[in-house]
């Protein structure tokens, strides 16, 4: 599934949420919905770029507070659209609210996309995708930052290692296999190979 179709799906789910109302059953245990999976992917891809998930799951805040925090994080560089912010706030407020218990089940691993095809990359698309996903850690033009320098990095010529790293994560890098499609990863790979 590609990001645009995922967002359309998220938007549809969001409308459903608005119609159905609160997403907790009588015992107060949140049910897992499709929107939750979108939110879980966003947490992994957009939030844990800068800080680990523990900072989020120890909070017990109402919807207004979560709204304020997500907006602040967006202004601080988290790559989340307004629609994605709404998905995140709904998820966080349903799970990490003031009446939630002190210990919750671990934040679930986002579901993997069903198939990762190692398609032919398109460097032009890859440049865009890099800007949306990789630049906070790896820097403009792949010059490095919190994450290693990628321009000219040997990992680009070692395809199995490149794919393994991107799909499963490495050290502080989150797993992107849950976020990007195989085509998108191939696009980014193609663009990175154009850098000196």
């Amino acid at each position: 599934m590609k990001i645009p179709s995922m967002l359309a799906w998220a938007f549809g789910s969001l409308l459903m949420v608005a119609l159905v109302g609160a997403r907790t059953d009588n015992a107060g245990i949140p049910e897992t919905s499709d929107t939750d999976h979108v939110a879980q992917r966003l947490l992994a891809a957009r939030c844990t770029v800068c800080h680990s998930i523990e900072l989020i799951v120890q909070q017990r805040l109402d919807r207004d507070h979560w709204g304020t925090i997500v907006k602040k994080m967006s202004s601080w560089g988290a790559e989340v659209s307004e629609l994605e912010q709404e998905v995140l706030v709904a998820y966080l407020a349903s799970r990490y609210h003031p009446n939630a218990g002190p210990v919750l089940a671990e934040e679930p691993e986002p579901k993997l996309f069903p198939s990762i095809d190692k398609a032919q990359g398109n460097a032009k698309r890859g440049q865009n995708l890099y800007g949306q996903n990789c630049v906070p850690c790896h820097g403009l033009q792949g010059i490095g930052g919190v994450g290693p320098k990628l321009a000219g990095n040997q990992v680009l010529t070692d395809a199995p290692r490149f794919w393994e790293t991107v799909l499963n994560g490495r050290a502080g890098m989150p797993s992107w296999g849950t976020i990007l499609s195989g085509q998108e990863i191939a696009d980014i790979h193609s663009w990175l190979q154009t850098l000196k």
Partner: protein, 400 residues
């Protein structure tokens, strides 16, 4: 020469010093605070868990209260609070370190660590505490790291006086505040930098230090190596780590970490409500506080003498008394105080309680400082969850 150890620090020693000596943090999972996993393996050598992790990246971890049996908190057991985590290894290396002093000064300075040898060496023992220590006890809960009781410690800090460095630069008459910045950087360029300022009066206080050593060891990386500010009696956010820039100015520093964070309302507000139209004061001095180290919560003790002990501290003043209640606040007994009765340090206290009645009881500790401030049952709620100093409370069961 105490500074030589910095100059000669090898890469390996530098990494070992990241968290204080050869005993490491035992945290699993990736810790992307500038050390790679391989580098971490070098410091991760102890099977004991010295700290309670709150956030692995950037690292926030607090000291287990049983470590407060020691009057000085060992470096590897000292709490860690990170806004962004340490600068990348090479940037923090002592041999390349430069401290810039500029702004409203007659002679802007750029000093290496070696240059600091020209100033008098000073040691101050002082409590360092995160202003969010105890945030987890506020109701309703407030956003931020949910610290409980251990985001505090007592250490010997050695370095040079900030005053001496500023006076070497020549402070101009219009100067009122000293802005501080460290070498740490956020992941995103859109995240505000951690910039703080302190009033000139605190910067010129004889006990305010540029610290290079902690408990007689080189300052560990996670505690700001090679150089951090220590403002004794004030909360930790004034104690800038990885210090690279001092800028003397007429006004307070601007930005999120001065204007919004680390402030509390000047008058009581309704818990859970925003502090609209109320003047917000900057967090500066610590407030009077005590913690029960022993016994621990939910412990079963035997009838007869029970040793109740802990530590107590306050801001720039001294602890006057610590009172203990073993009946949930109905009656109080005064504890004995130990160690030097001087500013900035914590006092150890002890009471031998005759536990005669079998059953459950609640033990409370309440400190009073020399300005007459008394630890309240709970602290006034504030939206940032700062300055918690509610009486420490444990539940015990007395058995035959």
């Amino acid at each position: 020469m105490w500074l030589n150890q910095h100059d000669d620090l090898s890469r390996r020693e530098f990494l070992l010093n990241a968290i204080g000596g050869t005993v490491g943090l035992c945290l699993s999972g990736p810790l992307a605070f500038g050390l790679s996993r391989d580098q971490l393996a070098e410091v991760d050598s102890d099977s004991e868990q010295p700290l309670i992790g709150r956030v692995p990246r950037p690292l926030d971890a607090e000291t287990p209260v049983d470590s407060f049996h020691s009057w000085l908190t060992p470096n590897h057991r000292f709490f860690v609070r990170s806004h962004f985590g340490p600068p990348a290894g090479d940037l923090a290396h002592a041999s390349a370190w430069q401290l810039r002093v500029q702004g409203l000064v007659d002679r802007p300075l750029t000093l290496s660590l070696g240059d600091l040898r020209q100033f008098e060496e000073v040691t101050v023992t002082a409590v360092l505490q995160c202003s969010g220590n105890g945030r987890a006890f506020y109701r309703p809960q407030t956003p931020g790291v949910q610290w409980e009781r251990g985001a505090v410690g007592n250490a010997r800090w050695t370095g040079v006086r900030l005053r001496d460095v500023l006076q070497r630069a020549g402070i101009q008459s219009s100067a009122r505040h000293v802005h501080m910045q460290g070498a740490d950087r956020p992941v995103s360029e859109r995240t505000p930098m951690f910039i703080r300022s302190i009033p000139l009066s605190k910067a010129l206080h004889q006990d305010t230090l540029l610290a290079l050593r902690m408990n007689d060891e080189p300052l560990p990386l996670l505690h700001g190596a090679p150089m951090r500010v220590i403002t004794p009696g004030w909360m930790g956010e004034s104690c800038m780590k990885w210090l690279t820039d001092l800028t003397v100015q007429e006004d307070e520093a601007k930005g999120y970490y001065m204007d919004t964070a680390y402030r509390y309302p000047s008058e009581p507000i309704e818990p859970g409500k925003p502090a609209d139209r109320i003047r917000m004061l900057p967090v500066e001095a610590m407030v009077v506080k005590s913690v029960i180290v022993q016994p621990t919560d939910a412990m079963v003790v035997h009838r007869g003498p029970v040793v109740v002990e802990g530590v107590a501290w306050t801001g720039e003043g001294r602890i006057a008394t610590v009172d203990i209640s073993t009946d949930d606040g109905r009656t109080w007994q005064q504890a004995d105080l130990f160690r030097e009765d001087v500013s900035y340090v914590w006092r150890q206290w002890r009471l031998v309680w005759q536990a005669n009645e079998i059953g459950s009881c609640t033990v409370l500790a309440r400190a009073t400082d020399d300005a007459g401030h008394v630890q309240p049952p709970t602290s006034p709620w504030n939206p940032g969850g700062f300055l918690w100093n509610g009486m420490d409370r444990i539940r015990l069961r007395v058995d035959a």
